[in-house]
Symmetry: C2
Subunit: 531 residues, 2 copies
Amino acid sequence: MSLEQRYKPFLSSRAEGRQMQPFWNNAVPAHVKQHPQPIDLGAGLPNEGLFPIESVHLNVVNHPFQHRNYNFRSSKLHQQEHGNHVNDDGIDKTHIAHNERELVAQKFQDGSMVDMWRYEPENPQCIPICSGFQYNDTRGLTQMLDFCHKFVEYTNPPAYDDWDITFANGSSDSLFKVFETLAEANVTVLVEEFTFSPTVHNITATGATAVPIRLQVTADSESQGIDVDYLTNLLENWSQSEFSHLSKPRLLYTIPTGQNPTGMTLSLRKRQQIYALAEIHNFIIVEDDPYGYLRFPPYDPKNPFFNPYESNDFTIDQYRNEMLAKSFISLDTSGRVIRCETFSKVFFPGLRFSFIVGNKYLISKILSFEEVSTRAASGVSQMMVNNVIQKWAPGFSSAQEAWLAWVVKVAGQYTHRRNVLFQALQASDAYKNGLFSMLPVTAGMFAALTINFDQFPHIENRSEALQELSYILLEEGVKVVLGTNMAVSKPFSAHRSHFLRITYAYAADDAQLQEAAKRLGQGIQRLHSVH
Amino acid sequence: MSLEQRYKPFLSSRAEGRQMQPFWNNAVPAHVKQHPQPIDLGAGLPNEGLFPIESVHLNVVNHPFQHRNYNFRSSKLHQQEHGNHVNDDGIDKTHIAHNERELVAQKFQDGSMVDMWRYEPENPQCIPICSGFQYNDTRGLTQMLDFCHKFVEYTNPPAYDDWDITFANGSSDSLFKVFETLAEANVTVLVEEFTFSPTVHNITATGATAVPIRLQVTADSESQGIDVDYLTNLLENWSQSEFSHLSKPRLLYTIPTGQNPTGMTLSLRKRQQIYALAEIHNFIIVEDDPYGYLRFPPYDPKNPFFNPYESNDFTIDQYRNEMLAKSFISLDTSGRVIRCETFSKVFFPGLRFSFIVGNKYLISKILSFEEVSTRAASGVSQMMVNNVIQKWAPGFSSAQEAWLAWVVKVAGQYTHRRNVLFQALQASDAYKNGLFSMLPVTAGMFAALTINFDQFPHIENRSEALQELSYILLEEGVKVVLGTNMAVSKPFSAHRSHFLRITYAYAADDAQLQEAAKRLGQGIQRLHSVH
């Protein structure tokens, strides 16, 4: 059965109807002897000589937070830091510049800036301004597409051949396009009961219905995440379930690694079981994986600051083979997984640059939608990522390895931040008194801090108490997100939503994380004392 | 009547249903005494110290094609030029660098680069990397929004107060979002009979129907463009028209200035008449204006290279007051115009950065759609445009004037290119023999070259002959777009579609435009000789 035969029934009626007939590209009969050097008065493109930017020079760091090690303290570099938190250790002696501008001049002189030129005849893997800043193929710029194709093969090779890629404007846009292509009224989409709620709005905006599936909110790494027994039972007995008025699910939306908001990661065994269910019950798995490249070992209270990536022995291949979770797409033999990746968490979010991996037929349908909506992702964003990676590439066996080397550095920072926060939380009285616990986190930006309401015998309404706690925490000086606010259905998840989503991603430094942990502990202790 | 009362009936059912309940922003009761320095463990943002780019340095030119005047000829700068076309006149003596890298080093030293720093405490109008590269408000970055707001007031102030702006990812995306918000099945959208056909796909993808309206394809600048008599009659007698099976139009889509593909510009009088019709028949005008800032005087065969912008006397205010066409929105007293602007033609297309102006109610609905789809436009793109303009600003009375000064330079290039092409076309034998004529063009990138089929008495099927001509032109070595391919309905426009859309925007230089004109003339002459 062809991909089209298999997956056409999954298309929304809008996706089936979409088409773009380009007015500028028409077949030329064989008898026409085309001129070897035609002049193009057809294409509505401004000549690149009209662009106001002639070249762009990127001052790229070797490792995150490098600016904290400079032996100068310009207000520009440090204005957002707290004087008493500046880490004055470990000054990087290779930087002898006295200010930021001098540093850049030096880097420009020694050739370590990433240069983006108007034309780039020397390295075909680098994108020049004349093409990157021009109108471009909706799917993406050739060099960057090529990189991503090889990166998927390098980290998460699909288990079949007919897969493809297209770019989008960040993961929200990827998911919007996926659901516009696959969902509509009378389509049921399974979603994790706690999830990134804007995606639920993506889904319901198509007219489809999102149905929550139960999560095992547990510390056990083999059983945490989607409750497979629950899901199996639900699918096998759909017509007797509370959702029997809805059609059988056509899609499953999941954030399998470093799940938002719970921080949980699905084990390989569970992924295999869920994929098997997809084959049996014929649904498509939409895998949203913004956090998948940020992996780390579980927190170890006996060795709280353990960070394997700081060791010189640790290799990029170890990270790739031993640390990264297996994508659903690497289990996919029939083309039923759509994988959404993004550069937001590992390069930076303002790029608005993501990509979608899936079978060729469905990717072509998503591309048809892009052609009549956003068209290409920002060429500037594509070019920045591509040319930075190509600058790094010569030191590695491939551009893909060079990129993963940066990713490991970022993962190392997240490991450290998670360690600092968890260590400080466990040092708090509230923790020692058993008032809360943390779900183990081995990926991403988020941790779920569960309030042990059994220790609060006088509290009857736990949701109200959680809300009250959030106000106490604002007084103590720490902002968190309530698990209850990220439940797809509050009644469905009533017994599992008494947690706080906390992130170690945004805080300025270790001291701030430690202070936040202290405030969290104090706040929880205060909730206990008033009840 | 409030904007909501007036415009809610225009919303598609999808737009009415869309909503985003942010999980991270909840009202805090007044009794909560918030800590003055809270630490944010809520926001899922990576700290800016994790971004691999520390600063960005833009080598911005003073005028388009400046690189042709350098007294060095690096392969990078000139690889795409033809050796014998390089203009060696007018070397810019201010550049004494011997190669591109040296030039950039010099510019960096003398402070003329546009610098984008991680933090930017000095100039609040400049966007620093810590915010521009971060997750951001969907509507846009504050500084850039502020600039655009003031730019609308500067060039095209709406004739009412309750208007607003939101950003999007290029004009295609703007239009997609506008039509998703306002169109659906059973909605009729009036479109110019020749138009940028991807927009028609945007419209039909919502389920709506696009109905062509007749254009006066004429050289007379007062009467060219939308046929107002035809439109008046159509609207007044809709139920007796050939479109009586469709609902009365709810929207009119128009490219009023430098129309694509005809190059025509609607006179102010016609704009007033069309706006009056919109008030009477209660439709919304969607004004797509990518070319509006590229204005120039009509081509004058007696003074073919006249270019007012090359005169030192010519002022930015003259351009603003005397040259720019009045946007429909500057006639708009009731908030029924949605204006789509873009930086693609005057900055560069790879930005994928545009904005939408309209009444506050409708803009809020478009914004609601953005929240559940693409979210913000690329922060990198927004930042580049903003910070370049802010660099220019000190030399002018406002940042808006600074930007328009660049726009005039680009318009000067287009004026020159239009002049060169028209002069060369009029010098061809085919023109002198009366085989074709050009519609006058006073804006934008396109000109319509009409084949005078009356001079080809043996040709019966003009559409087939136009297709044949396009093949001849490929043999002669010039690519064009056929008017027939840009007709919304080929039968409807059968008698008006015998033109070629040509553009002077993309050619490398004058010599290439002249060669293209020669080839065009030869091709048309050849069509004549074989019939």
